[in-house]
């Protein structure tokens, strides 16, 4: 089975998921992990899919043409063997909430500190909320901490930008339990 990563973005409207998955079903594709969400006014789909025979972009022919004709942007990436499986991520899981008056650089400054400390971001969502006069930026990160790091370390690492950018940051680890 060869694997592909497919992304589709377009103005949100009802029916995009059924339009896309009907094409994939008729092609004989198997859907594995996927994430689809509305971002701003756009609906974005990211899908990992497999096909027993397809090997390249050409294999799909013009199957996605109807999507492009309805103003959806389609991109397909051919995965190298093994590219469909997630590597083992060790370390404690933590959620980091960041919010404050909107200003440039919030995502970058937080991500830079986390990246430099080898914190592995596994999920990141941001949303612009509040009013037009007082926009508020909210970011929620899920991350795996490097070995030995704890909640308090993350707090300490982020403390300098908390003051500098005037943002609120809370970090909470989620204990793993076997039941």
């Amino acid at each position: 089975m060869n694997h592909f990563a497919l992304t589709i973005v377009g103005r949100d409207r009802p029916g995009i998921v059924s339009q896309v998955t009907e094409i994939l079903f008729n092609l004989g594709c198997n859907l594995a992990d996927s994430s689809c969400s509305i971002l701003g006014g756009q609906f974005a789909m990211i899908l990992i899919l497999g096909h027993p025979e397809f090997t390249s972009l050409e294999s799909f022919g013009d199957a996605f043409k109807p999507l492009e004709e309805t103003d959806l942007t389609v991109a397909l990436r051919v995965l190298k063997p093994g590219g469909e499986t997630r590597s083992q991520i060790e370390g404690d899981l933590c959620m980091i909430s960041v919010y404050g008056a909107d200003k440039p650089g919030i995502v970058y400054r937080v991500a830079k500190i986390l990246g430099d400390k080898q914190v592995n971001i596994t999920d990141l969502n941001t949303k612009l909320v509040g009013t037009e006069e007082r926009p508020v930026y909210v970011m929620v990160i899920e991350a795996c901490l490097p070995e030995g790091a704890e909640e308090n370390d993350v707090n300490n690492w982020l403390a300098p930008i908390r003051d500098e950018l005037q943002i609120d940051i809370t970090v909470r680890t989620i204990p793993t339990v076997e039941l």
């Binding site: 997630r86 793993t176 339990v177 039941l179």
Partner: protein
């Protein structure tokens, strides 16, 4: 006394609602003993519910006293027949794993404090107040009596469901 094998999803028994126990007789104490033996044999386990060993009766056992998270706040071995949560408060999120859903863990938010009423092995009605990990464990096992798995409680696959760490 017997160590039983744990049923795994998609075994249909795990999705059924267990029957209340009318009288705590020797068939019930036998189930309790099987659950305790199975829990101890499973090593890492802090609780087992009867449907997990194929018995559709409202019986569960919980013991968090040997676990890191529960050792300072627990009631030791709890053997519960017809357990019912009569009060709950607070919220806590833990990343739960379940022997009936191997390989995956998921973030589940449950009540932090519970008051639970149940009949014990001796047939006595008891009411206890549990909190923290013990409260989570009771709620997790009680869900099994209602045919619910932690997968039913996960709110987002993207952020809440994980492949279990390699041991």
């Amino acid at each position: 006394m017997a160590v039983c094998s744990i049923l795994c999803y998609p075994d249909p028994i795990l999705k059924q609602v267990a029957e209340p126990v009318a009288v705590v007789d020797e068939t019930v104490t036998a189930v309790i003993q099987d659950l305790v033996d199975t829990m101890i044999d499973a090593g890492h386990s802090v609780g087992v519910a009867a449907p997990q060993i194929g018995v559709l009766r409202r019986v569960l056992v919980v013991d968090v006293s040997k676990s890191k998270l529960g050792k300072d706040n627990n009631h030791g071995l709890l053997e519960m027949v017809n357990p019912e949560i009569i009060q709950k408060s607070g919220r806590t999120t833990m990343r739960e794993g379940c022997m009936s859903v191997p390989d995956y863990t998921g973030n589940v938010t449950r009540a932090e404090h519970i008051v639970v009423e149940f009949i014990d092995r001796a047939g006595q009605l008891r009411v206890i107040e549990a909190s923290g990990f013990e409260a989570v464990a009771v709620q997790h096992e009680l869900d099994h009596l209602d045919g619910l798995l932690f997968l039913d409680r996960v709110s987002s696959l993207k952020t809440d469901l994980y492949r279990r760490k390699a041991k």
